[in-house]
Each structure stands twice: as structure tokens, then as C-alpha cells.
């Protein structure tokens, strides 16, 4: 069921517009560079004239790998660790690192289309702790807050 907000640890990273998640970044007023997440100055030209920007919600996989062992803290480890795919998603103006879901981990390919999703990564986590990830875009639908 889509919601209209995200948990506090995602505030500043994610906004919800009409039930759809948006990643929040910064855009440099001087050179146009976009970053994720928000930062107070431009890493390219050092300008402090930056403002928040909503990033694209769809993109393509620029590179990927599979995390096959459980990371150490602060990773929120589920009771049973399952390998997960992750990669950099090319959003046109910036490439964002995120976990990838929606197909078997070893089947990802560079260039695969994906869309942004926000929701609970671990169904057994009673807090319903939210994360963002990109999922395989097979039908052209918009991403969701789950």
C-alpha cells in the first residue's frame, strides 16, 4: 500500500510525491553538476550555490556486483542473510549506488532498465525499517513506496 511519507532516517534522501518516491540530490547553480545525496557545495567547482533537486526515478544499470557475504555493522543484518545484487544506476545526470532487486542476483547486466522503490527490505524486521533500491523495470510502471 503506497504511503505519502518515509521514515525519518530517509528524510533528506527521499521525498514522496503523489505516492511515488523521489531521490533528493543537489544541483550546482554555477556548473549544473548534480550529486546524491544532498551536499552543501559542489564537488566539481567548489561553489556553495547549490540547491535541492529531485533526481530521475528510472535509469539503467551502469555496473553491478553481488554481495555474497553479510557485511559487518552498521549493516542491518536480517536473521538469515541472502546474497543481494547492487550497482550504480545511471540516472542521466548522476549515477547512484543502490541495491538491485526483482531478478536472480547473477542475471543482472550492464544496461538493464530499473526504477526506484522505497520500502521494507527485511520482512521480519518488526520496525518496518525502510530502505531504497532499484528494481528491474519490465513493464514501464512508475516506482513505488511500499
Amino acid at each position: 500500500m503506497p504511503t505519502d511519507s518515509v521514515q525519518s532516517h530517509l528524510s533528506g534522501l527521499i521525498d514522496v510525491v503523489d505516492g511515488q518516491p523521489r531521490l533528493l540530490g543537489s544541483r550546482c547553480g554555477s556548473c549544473g553538476t548534480e550529486t546524491f545525496p544532498v551536499q552543501s557545495s559542489c564537488p566539481r567547482c567548489s561553489s556553495e550555490d547549490v540547491e535541492p533537486v529531485e533526481l530521475a526515478t528510472r535509469g539503467t544499470v551502469w555496473t553491478w556486483t553481488v554481495q555474497r557475504f553479510a557485511p559487518k555493522p552498521p549493516f542491518r543484518a536480517p536473521k538469515v542473510f541472502e546474497p543481494f545484487a547492487l550497482g550504480y544506476v545511471d540516472l542521466g545526470t548522476v549515477r547512484v549506488e543502490a541495491r538491485l532487486a526483482g531478478k536472480p542476483v547473477e542475471q543482472w547486466k550492464i544496461g538493464d532498465p530499473v526504477r526506484l522503490v522505497v520500502g521494507a527490505l527485511d520482512e521480519d524486521d518488526e520496525s518496518g525499517w525502510q530502505a531504497f533500491w532499484f528494481e528491474a523495470d519490465t513493464d514501464g510502471q512508475e516506482g513505488q513506496v511500499r
Binding site: T65, R68, F69, P74, F84, L86, E97, A98, L121, A131
Partner: protein, 379 residues
């Protein structure tokens, strides 16, 4: 740069019951003995460690002589920063005889890193992305695709590292594995299998540096540090612990540091007789071969498959087994590379000596979050 290496000392790399600071003093005493001097002769010292404690605390064991002793830290490239600081102490005239030390003792498994230390929110680690090994997998995955290189080259490089490590009594991994055993091993972060990674380990490495006049007093075969160049990343590179990357690309920190080192030394990549490059995993060596200028991007296949990188090849690389065979005590790792080149140039690399009296050597160390130090050494 007119700075000489007049002595080297190592505590073997691997896993030991020994406290980190005892490994450090063992390496320092070996370097002092190799130089033929006492700790009280040293007029400046510099060192670094991530998990082994403060370098300057070693004076309690070495002797409380009042010598200035500076601590440095730059991740996996800490050894490069220690060397640069020591060399500059001599080049500036501040000191004539300098001790450099790197040591470490890490817990098992991939490093646990606090995102806040890199200016990143907790969420990045909570979601499972604060992991160095993932970055290595993603970077080489992209590189192999970009240059249409065979992933099997990664297994070839690991096999070379372990072959060389088997010939080095100070290495941790001294058991050669076949290319098939490496390629078919458990996948850790695709396309990298478990035998393609180095592991955090333990050990210590120390050098004594001297001014030219002092060097001539001490030995007739000093090795000359012709260049030490250190660069951090520019906008557009692909580095570890990056929540996002730029769409526009840039040469890496290694490319700028290597170019500066060659220019400063007045030699080119074609002049190099032996090299040590950062091989945190086999993909790093593959990319660094090109980033350093030792070959063109995409041309690694010829170099690897022709045997050119072997100890008896045209361009021997990672002759002591590199990080893959030695593991990575990150304070010591960059200094291990310089020690190996020093021994090779002096003809003292027992069991793994590069033939035909190599004259010119090169080292490159890389650390998070995107920095590199390169050196050029000559006899």
C-alpha cells in the same frame, strides 16, 4: 629528489600472536641493523597504522631519545604518506637520517568502516553498501565490459601473485593455485572469487632514508628514491565509498600520481625493470597496470598472457606476491612494495630475484577514498 634508501626491515606478513607494536619494533630493528646504525642516530621518524596503535608510542621500546616522531594515516596508502613525509624531511634539510615505519594488525574479514568517517550517512552502511569488496567487484565489472577483457585474466593475475608469494619467505600465502582453482572458487563479489582478493592481515615494514652525503657514509649500494608523488581523486573518478558517481569521467588519482612521479624522476614507464602495484584484488592490478602507464588501457591481455609480468619476464610486477599473497596490514603495505623494489635493485631478493640486474623500479599504492602514491627508484 635526492633521498637514499639505506636500510630496510620487515616483520613477515600474515597472522601472528605477536602484538602489533612488537612486530613494528622487530621491523625497525631489522632496518637499523641493515643500515648499520642505532636508533639514537635517527633524527626524524614517521609512521602509521590503522589498528596497531600509535607509531610514536614505539619510542618506549626503541629508546626515549627525544627524536621527533610523526604519525600519519591515509587508509591503505598510509605507507606512501609515511615515505613522502620522511623523504621530505631529508629533502628540506630538516634531517639526515630518517626512520619510516608502517605496521598493522587487523581483525579477520573485510574491514568494518564507519560511514561517518567518510562523511556519509549511517543509511549507506545500514543498507549494506559500506563494503570495500563490493566496490572492487563493481569497478572491475565495468572495466572488463568497457575494454572487452576476459574475466579469466583476473584468475591469471591471482595465480601469478600466489606463485611469487610461494617464493617469498616473508609472504603469508605461500601455496600456488592453478588458474582453474582460482576461477572456479567461491564467488565473493562478482566477478571476483575468494582467491582473487587479498585479506586484511598483520605485519610491519620499515625503511631508513638518508641524505646523499649520509648515504655515502653508510653503504656503497644505496637505492635512490627519485620521486614520491601523492594525489587525491579529482571530480569524475570511480572510488570506494561513493553514494554517487559523476557522469563525466576523469583519470584516476593513480594516473596523476604516476605521471607526476615519472616526470619528476625523468624516466618513463618503458624504463621500468620491476614494479609493485596495488593488488587489493586481481582487478585492481589489472586496472593499475594501465593507470600507472605501464601499459595502455585494454592492452593488459597481451602483457599477462605473454608472461611479461612474471619474475623472468619483460616487466615483472608484484614480485613478492603483492597484497594477494601478503595480505594487507594497511600501515605497512605501501612500504612493503618499496622494500621489495629496494631488494630487487640491490640483487638481494633471494628466491625471487629479477634477473639481469634491474636498474629502475616503480611502486604504486592506492587507498580509500581515492588516493594514490607512486614512487620511482633507481640503483
Amino acid at each position: 629528489m635526492d633521498v637514499a634508501i639505506v636500510g630496510v626491515g620487515l616483520h613477515p606478513f600474515g597472522r601472528f600472536p605477536t602484538p602489533a607494536q612488537d612486530m613494528a619494533t622487530t621491523a625497525i630493528r631489522a632496518a637499523l641493523t641493515d643500515t648499520g646504525v642505532q636508533w639514537s642516530d635517527i633524527d626524524f621518524a614517521v609512521g602509521g597504522s590503522r589498528d596497531g596503535g600509535h607509531a610514536d608510542a614505539l619510542v618506549q621500546d626503541l629508546g626515549l631519545t627525544g627524536t621527533p616522531f610523526m604519525n600519519v594515516y591515509n587508509g591503505c596508502a598510509t605507507g606512501g604518506s609515511a615515505l613522502l613525509s620522511g623523504a621530505n624531511a631529508i629533502a628540506s634539510g630538516m634531517a639526515d637520517l630518517v626512520l619510516v615505519i608502517g605496521f598493522d594488525k587487523h581483525e579477520r574479514g573485510a574491514f568494518a568502516t564507519n560511514p561517518a568517517e567518510y562523511g556519509i550517512g549511517e543509511w549507506f552502511g545500514e543498507m549494506g553498501m559500506m563494503v570495500t569488496t563490493q566496490f572492487f567487484g563493481m569497478k572491475i565489472q565495468r572495466y572488463l565490459d568497457q575494454y572487452d577483457l576476459d574475466p579469466r585474466l583476473l584468475a591469471e593475475l591471482s595465480a601469478k601473485a600466489l606463485r611469487n608469494g610461494a617464493r617469498n619467505p616473508n609472504a603469508w600465502r605461500r601455496h600456488a593455485l592453478s588458474v582453474d582453482e582460482i576461477a572456479d572458487a567461491e564467488m565473493v563479489n562478482d566477478p571476483l572469487t575468494k582467491y582473487m582478493f587479498c585479506s586484511p592481515s598483520e605485519g610491519a615494514a620499515s625503511l631508513v632514508l638518508a641524505s646523499p652525503a649520509k648515504a655515502r657514509e653508510l653503504r656503497d649500494d644505496p637505492v635512490w628514491l627519485r620521486a614520491v608523488e601523492f594525489r587525491t581523486r579529482k571530480y569524475g573518478t570511480f572510488e570506494v565509498f561513493s553514494p554517487s558517481l559523476a557522469v563525466e569521467g576523469s583519470p584516476s588519482a593513480t594516473e596523476f600520481a604516476a605521471k607526476a612521479a615519472f616526470e619528476s624522476a625523468g624516466v618513463g614507464p618503458d624504463d621500468i625493470d620491476v614494479a609493485q602495484v596495488q593488488d587489493t584484488e586481481a582487478g585492481a592490478e589489472l586496472m593499475h597496470l594501465a593507470e600507472t602507464g605501464l601499459c595502455e588501457h585494454g592492452q593488459q591481455s597481451d602483457l599477462i598472457m605473454s608472461g611479461a609480468l612474471e619474475i623472468d619476464g619483460r616487466l615483472p610486477v608484484n614480485t613478492d606476491g603483492g597484497c594477494i599473497a601478503n595480505g594487507e596490514p594497511i600501515g605497512a603495505s605501501g612500504l612493503r612494495q618499496v622494500i621489495e623494489c629496494t631488494l630487487q635493485l640491490q640483487g638481494r631478493a633471494d628466491g625471487r630475484q629479477v634477473p639481469d640486474n634491474p636498474r629502475t623500479a616503480f611502486t604504486q599504492v592506492y587507498g580509500a577514498p581515492g588516493l594514490s602514491t607512486c614512487t620511482v627508484l633507481t640503483r
